[in-house]
């Protein structure tokens, strides 16, 4: 495929009509487009993609030039168009896409209708491809999966390196195979495919149906059903593997995150135990407080009265208490005498007489009313009180100190707690990650189970199917006509097997070749013990060889990723070109056509030496190169590419909304 020219109408920064034509000269096959950042190089590259597929990588899906948009009146309509002229398979195509925009009554810009047309020149006339076929035609010209590698947006390297290293999909591998020229094989095999009803062998099986033997037909149906089931099982298995892979990646990612933040878990645990500690401390403190209050309330009198008691006792022991009592005489004695009516001395005691009065007075000073007795009682009291609560101050003091100690422990713990809280605000809670991790692990286990079940089923179906096939063969061999069909089938099967073997061989060879080319190209750009391997699905592995000859997998740096992709594409292009130009019959079996390389500023990631190497290698590899560079890279590119440049343009940025494509 060769690009001839492109016309833009109001496409993003390119106001009005702008066009550029590309160099198709064999020797001067490079077109250089220079422009500063923001002048529209990426937009220009996206114009190709939008024209061919109606899709871009931009977040803003409106392609309409902003200045035109602002000046649009309500109900007014304007269209955005991109026209692409190219040749493919010796046919000159014109591909045009248009999108009409209008401002509605509310002032909003709305996209209206789109039109997409492919036309080609035939016998001097312009013919249009039928609308129902445009999609497949585009796929034939350049499948979308591969377009990213030929309209090369070097700035978005990260995604690409992942894609390359972990194979996008079956479609990608298919597309690559197509480019490598294996399509003819694939189609032939598809045509013969033994397991499909629409293949050659399948249709032979169908012709069993026209035989009168119902049993055979029945077998055929059952066999087909098993085949269908087997096909869907295989498909599901592929899906499961994909899902498992994705889930594995997620698990690795989450485990990483959890490890990074395991600190947070530790802090949480610390926080919990601190809270517990604080709780216990508070309880202990309250208990101590209770004890203190109990001491304070438990008969504090003796303590507070200590000094008074001392004074009282002092006084009592110093004073000479004249006991007016009479030794050894008790109240009982007096009462007895009064009752008797006669005193010890013989005096008569009658109610109210002198003796009576005196005796009664004496009662005041005799036990149990004697002051001596009372004072003894008092002293005993004092003794008792002192013994039971003389230490109130010491006890309160001790308890108080204990309380204060607890309180300072509590404060300290609280400070620690707020320190932890401060640290925690920086740390991410890992709990949700762990929940997710569990979910994914469960999912993987589930998928594994399903896989095992499916394998079992698959085995069973295979056995049943094969048994039925054998049975049917036996039946059909009896029939003469059917016998012939069996023979035809055998031939077809043989052809298929041969083709398949040849295909495998060719694919292997070509893949090895591709691998070699890629390594060659890669090494010329990037020296250093790095090599690349390609597996059967066209996933690329980057291997590093250390000084001991050990080889291991690595994550690529930006420059390395770029180099890998670059090497990959140029490898594919090289092979495609070879196939086209080859006189070798074998290679001719591989049909493919060369593709141009439209590269958007990849040089910014390389150093000077690499740029030179790239500039040397490129033109020799691709049929046509269209390269976008920054002003700052311009001089070097000119220095190394100057002789092979056929056309030069630069993007003149008038303002944010207006860039003009100027030829230099």
């Amino acid at each position: 495929m060769l690009l001839k020219s492109i016309k833009l109408f109001n496409f993003r920064q390119f106001k009005g009509e702008q066009e550029a034509s590309f160099s198709t000269d064999i020797h001067k096959n490079v077109t250089v487009i220079m422009g500063d950042n923001g002048s529209g190089k990426t937009s220009f590259a996206q114009a190709f993609t939008w024209c061919l597929y109606g899709d871009t990588d931009f977040a803003d899906k409106s392609m309409l030039n902003k200045e035109i948009e602002n000046n649009l009146m309500p109900r007014q309509q304007v269209s955005v168009k991109v026209n692409l002229d190219l040749t493919h398979n010796d046919i000159e195509y014109n591909i045009s896409r248009a999108q009409i925009y209008s401002r509605d009554d509310y002032g909003k810009i709305k996209p209206l209708s789109t039109s997409f047309n492919i036309s080609y020149k035939k016998n001097g006339q312009q013919e249009f491809v039928k609308q129902s076929e445009v999609e497949s035609r585009i796929k034939e010209i350049l499948p979308k999966e591969l377009s990213k590698y030929f309209f090369f947006d070097g700035e978005r390297i990260q995604n690409f390196s992942k894609q390359i290293q972990r194979g996008k999909s079956k479609e990608f591998a298919q597309a690559v195979r197509g480019l490598l020229g294996l399509n003819a094989f694939i189609e032939a095999m598809e045509h013969l495919k033994p397991t499909s009803k629409f293949g050659v062998i399948g249709s032979y099986n169908d012709s069993y149906d026209s035989s009168s033997d119902d049993k055979i037909r029945e077998y055929s149906n059952k066999i087909q059903k098993y085949q269908d089931d087997l096909d869907s099982i295989d498909q599901r298995l592929l899906q499961i593997n994909d899902s498992i892979q994705i889930a594995d990646e997620k698990c690795a990612e989450l485990s990483n995150k959890i490890n990074l933040h395991s600190e947070g878990e530790r802090l949480q645990n610390e926080k919990k135990s601190l809270n517990q500690k604080i709780g216990k401390l508070i309880m202990a403190r309250n208990q101590a407080e209770g004890s203190l209050l109990k001491v304070f309330n438990n008969n504090p009198t003796a303590y507070f009265a200590k000094s008074l008691i001392k004074q009282a006792l002092d006084t009592l022991s110093n004073q000479d208490i004249r006991d007016k009592g009479i030794p050894d005489i008790h109240e009982r004695t007096i009462k007895y005498l009064i009752d008797r009516g006669i005193c010890v001395c013989g005096t008569k005691i009658t109610f109210g007489n002198d003796a009576y009065v005196e005796l009664n007075k004496a009662l005041e000073y005799l036990p149990p009313k004697s002051i001596g007795t009372i004072i003894s009682q008092f002293v005993n009291e004092s003794e008792i009180r002192l013994k039971t609560s003389g230490f109130l101050y010491e006890q309160i003091s001790d308890q108080y100190k204990i309380i204060r100690d607890f309180e300072s422990d509590i404060d300290e713990s609280r400070t620690d707690l707020s320190e932890i809280d401060k640290k925690l605000t920086d740390v991410v809670d890992v709990a949700p990650y762990q929940i997710d991790l569990h979910k994914y692990k469960d999912k993987i286990a589930e998928l594994d189970r399903e896989k095992r079940d499916l394998y079992q089923k698959r085995g069973a179906y295979l056995t049943s199917r094969d048994r039925l096939i054998t049975d049917r063969s036996e039946l059909t061999l009896r029939d003469e006509k059917n016998r012939k069909i069996e023979v035809y089938k055998a031939y077809a099967q043989y052809m298929y097997d041969e083709l398949y073997a040849l295909y495998q061989e060719s694919e292997d060879k070509i893949r090895k070749k591709l691998e070699n080319y890629i390594n060659e190209i890669f090494r010329s750009i990037y020296e250093g013990g790095i090599s690349l391997k390609i597996d059967s699905e066209y996933n690329i592995q980057i291997l590093v060889e250390d000084t001991d000859g050990h080889v291991f997998d690595v994550e690529a740096s930006t420059a390395q990723s770029l180099s890998v992709i670059f090497a990959f594409i140029t490898g594919i292009i090289k092979i495609a070109r070879e196939n086209n130009n080859s006189i070798d019959d074998d290679s001719r079996m591989l049909e493919s056509e060369p593709y141009p390389l439209v590269m958007d500023a990849p040089l910014s990631s390389f150093d000077k030496t690499r740029i030179r190497t790239i500039c040397d290698t490129l033109p020799k590899i691709a049929e046509q190169i269209i390269i976008f560079i920054k002003d700052t890279d311009g001089e070097i590119a000119e220095e190394h590419l100057g002789q092979v440049v056929g056309k030069r343009y630069f993007f003149d940025k008038k303002n944010e909304f207006d860039t003009i494509i100027m030829q230099r």
């Binding site: 203190l292 507070f304 006792l313 002092d314 003894s376 009291e381 002192l386």
Partner: protein, 175 residues
């Protein structure tokens, strides 16, 4: 004495209520557990600090001590009373003080002595309130105040006295 209901009124009622109020989360977080606990200690405090106060009628507030409680604590209350009477107004001759403390105890005609005692009670309530509650804001401070008060009291009154000394005196006095 000490055989009928006792009523705190006016500002003293308010003070006693605050001294017996719960200040923490625990129901036992009270400076004094009951009114009677205040009543027992107050006269000693009032006497030592030399503060007397008369009944206050400026507000309607009242708080009581029931007869049963007073009767239960008679021994202590009597002892405190005797102690105070024994040591009150040193210019009174010893004989008279002995009489007031021991002989005249329980005499219905003793209204003067009873009044003196009650004035010490109210004075003591005021001291306790001032020292423990007035300076405090939060319950921590109540504890601090109780401690400070006990410490101050210890230094001022009990500092140099050991229990043994007193017990020896007891021996002496018994002879």
């Amino acid at each position: 004495m000490f055989d009928k209901e006792y009523v705190f009124s006016g500002k003293h009622a308010d003070m006693v209520k605050k001294l017996t109020a719960q200040f923490g989360t625990d129901t036992n977080s009270k400076i004094f557990s009951r009114n009677i606990d205040v009543y027992i200690v107050a006269p000693i405090i009032g006497f030592l600090y030399g503060r007397k106060s008369s009944i206050d009628n400026t507000s309607d507030q009242t708080t009581k001590i029931f007869t049963e409680q007073l009767i239960k604590e008679t021994t202590t209350l009597k002892y405190n009373y005797q102690l105070i009477m024994l040591l009150n107004k040193k210019q009174l001759p010893f004989e008279e003080r002995l009489d007031k403390a021991f002989r005249n105890y329980g005499n219905k005609e003793n209204t003067d002595d009873e009044e003196t005692y009650n004035e010490f009670v109210l004075g003591g309530v005021e001291i306790l309130y001032e020292k423990i509650i007035e300076e405090a804001n939060m319950s921590e401070d109540f504890l601090q105040n109780i401690y400070d008060f006990t410490e101050e009291f210890n230094n001022r009154f009990n500092g140099s006295i050991t229990t043994d000394e007193i017990l020896d005196l007891c021996m002496l006095a018994k002879k």
